[in-house]
Amino acid sequence: MGLLHRHQTLLILAAIVLVAALVASVSPLVMERIVIDTLIKLVMVVGLSVFIGNSGVISFGHTGFMVIGAYAGAWLSMPPNVKQIFLRELPDWLIALQLPAVPSLLGGAALAAAVALVVGLPLMRLSGIAASIGTLSFLLICNIVYSHWTAISNGTGSLVGLPLFVDIPMAAGAALAAIAVAWAFQESSIGLRLRASREDEAAARASGIDVALLRLAAFCLSAAIVAVGGALQAHFLGTLTVGQFFIAITFLTLAMLVVGGTGSLSGAVVGTFAVAAASELLRLVEGDHDIAGVAITLPPGVRDVGLAAIMLAILLLRPKGITGGREIVLVSRPPRRLAPVLDMTSRERTE
């Protein structure tokens, strides 16, 4: 089994991102911005899939890491004179500090990973729904803290004047890096053992797998990736508010992951592009139309309703998502002997 064969999915996914970036670079500005925005969402969704895909635990809390990454990125990247206006209460050394783009993003990722380590230490001991509710509580706490602790965030007011350093190469580079890191994690022994626990937690424990520890590793890594996504989003728009990262984006990123299929990295990539495309098509539909002489106005909100309807349709008709939890491959190999065993457990569960 060649190295190329084993990692062909990684190459295919990278090619998809590169094609999107190339198309964007020869497109008009509007299209370019749509592609950049999609690539940023891709970073977030790939980050989500590192945790949700490998562990099987649904997390609503990752949007909290977007907030953390976005604000930490802003602390590092904004010019000192702007920070004097909006973030006067930051420590002096932080106000004086101004870092270039990549270190700022990595700073955001580092803080998010550190926070993930602290909150994950207790949270990862939980399983199933309790874990989901725990992560949801974390998101709510993040939202409340960043909305009211004006010293670090300018409260519910917005931060403006973030350096606009996110262009196509930056967004595509981040997406490629996220995919590569996620793939490496998935193929590592940690990733493999974590996915074993996803299929059958009791059996994994019985085989000596420390499920909580592995989940914690995935939680920290995914928090870091998602935080980069949050920081990219903030530096793409140039403004940052806490409300930007709450229920709506939680829904959007989870929808992307579920539509593509939570079980695989390919699912994250396919789902992001599919939902982004559907969302843009729905945006075109919104507004005034003249169909055969009849004026029809579709009010804003059609897009959100359409997105929710698409997600529901996928859940009802294809609960495992577009990819069905499989990775994209060009050259398939004979199914591993593990496959029928997994099929049996899933059949038993749906009974």
Binding site: I133, G134, L140, V145, A255
Partner: protein, 295 residues
């Protein structure tokens, strides 16, 4: 003394709304293992229904709110959740998230995103004077309505055939089915009850605040979840006690926290939720053994 009484009534009235929301979520969770994100939207559509008919006659508005919330609850069950009944809890959770988002944005399409105000039973916001304590009528009414609803529900669940079927299904769905309980019927009953409870919350909330908005259900649904979880998932009395507890803790924190920490009140509440999850994963009011996953 009077301050304490005032605090108790406040805490109980907030806790009552939370308890009703938690019970609506807990009923369905017990049977289907579905944490219903869309419960907040059942409340929201009920409140809009009452708002739109409030001008006609208040009791009529209450009936319309109940009818609409019931219909929406039953419809979502029929169209979305029924087909996914056998899916793992994570899929159900995401589905209810999608249903919630769909209902919310449908309401944005129909009525717009902005909050709207209405004069609905506003006489209730006046206060009565009891031995020097000023108690808003609405708080007393909320507590009374909750008590009556809980008593009726308890009677229904304990004394009627349908009620016993529902409780049996909540404690062990598969066993109940083997003993001849019809899944479709029992789940429909649970959703109907859930819709009814949502309508009650909608009416009480509307009388209290006089405001509706498409996102108004979120806070109550969130509190409902955490209440269900800390109360002990699948236990109905646990859900009620969980809701009351969250309400009481919220009101206590509001009055006990130093002023500069008060904006962070809810962060403390959710922090406590995480603490409860860790210390007693089976819930405050339930033995840990009952939570063990059934294999």
């Amino acid at each position: 003394m009077t301050a304490a009484l005032q605090l108790i009534v406040d805490a109980l009235s907030v806790g009552s709304l939370y308890a009703l929301s938690a019970l609506g979520i807990g009923l369905i969770f017990g049977i289907m293992r579905l944490i219903n994100f869309a419960h907040g939207e059942f409340i929201m559509v009920g409140a809009y229904a009452a708002m739109l008919t409030a001008a006609i006659w208040a009791p009529f508005a209450v009936i319309v709110a109940i009818a609409v919330a019931l219909a929406v609850a039953l419809l979502t069950e029929r169209l979305a959740f029924r087909r996914l009944r056998a899916s793992p809890p994570a899929t159900l959770l995401i589905t209810s998230f999608a249903v919630s988002y769909l209902l919310q944005n449908l309401m944005v399409l129909i009525e717009g995103a902005r909050p709207q105000t209405v004069d609905f039973l506003s006489a209730l916001t006046r206060s009565m004077d009891v031995g020097g304590v000023r108690l808003p009528w609405i708080n007393v009414v909320t507590i009374a309505v909750t008590a009556v609803l809980l008593a009726l529900l308890a009677l229904f669940l304990r004394r009627t055939r349908f009620g016993r079927m529902t409780r049996a299904a909540a404690s062990d769905f598969r066993m109940a089915r083997l003993l001849g309980v019809r899944a479709d019927r029992v789940i429909a009953i649970a959703f109907a009850l859930s819709g009814l409870l949502a309508a009650a919350v909608a009416v009480l909330l509307l009388a209290q605040t006089g405001t509706v908005s498409p996102v108004m259900g979120l806070q109550l649904a969130l509190v409902g979840f955490v209440a269900t979880v800390i109360g002990g998932m699948g236990s109905l009395s646990g859900a009620v006690l969980g809701g009351l507890t969250v309400g009481v803790v919220t009101v206590l924190l509001q009055s006990l926290l130093p002023a500069e920490l008060r904006p962070f009140r809810d962060a403390f509440v959710y922090g406590l939720v995480i603490a409860v999850l860790l210390v007693r994963p089976g819930g405050l009011f339930r033995s840990a053994a009952a939570m063990q996953e059934r294999v």
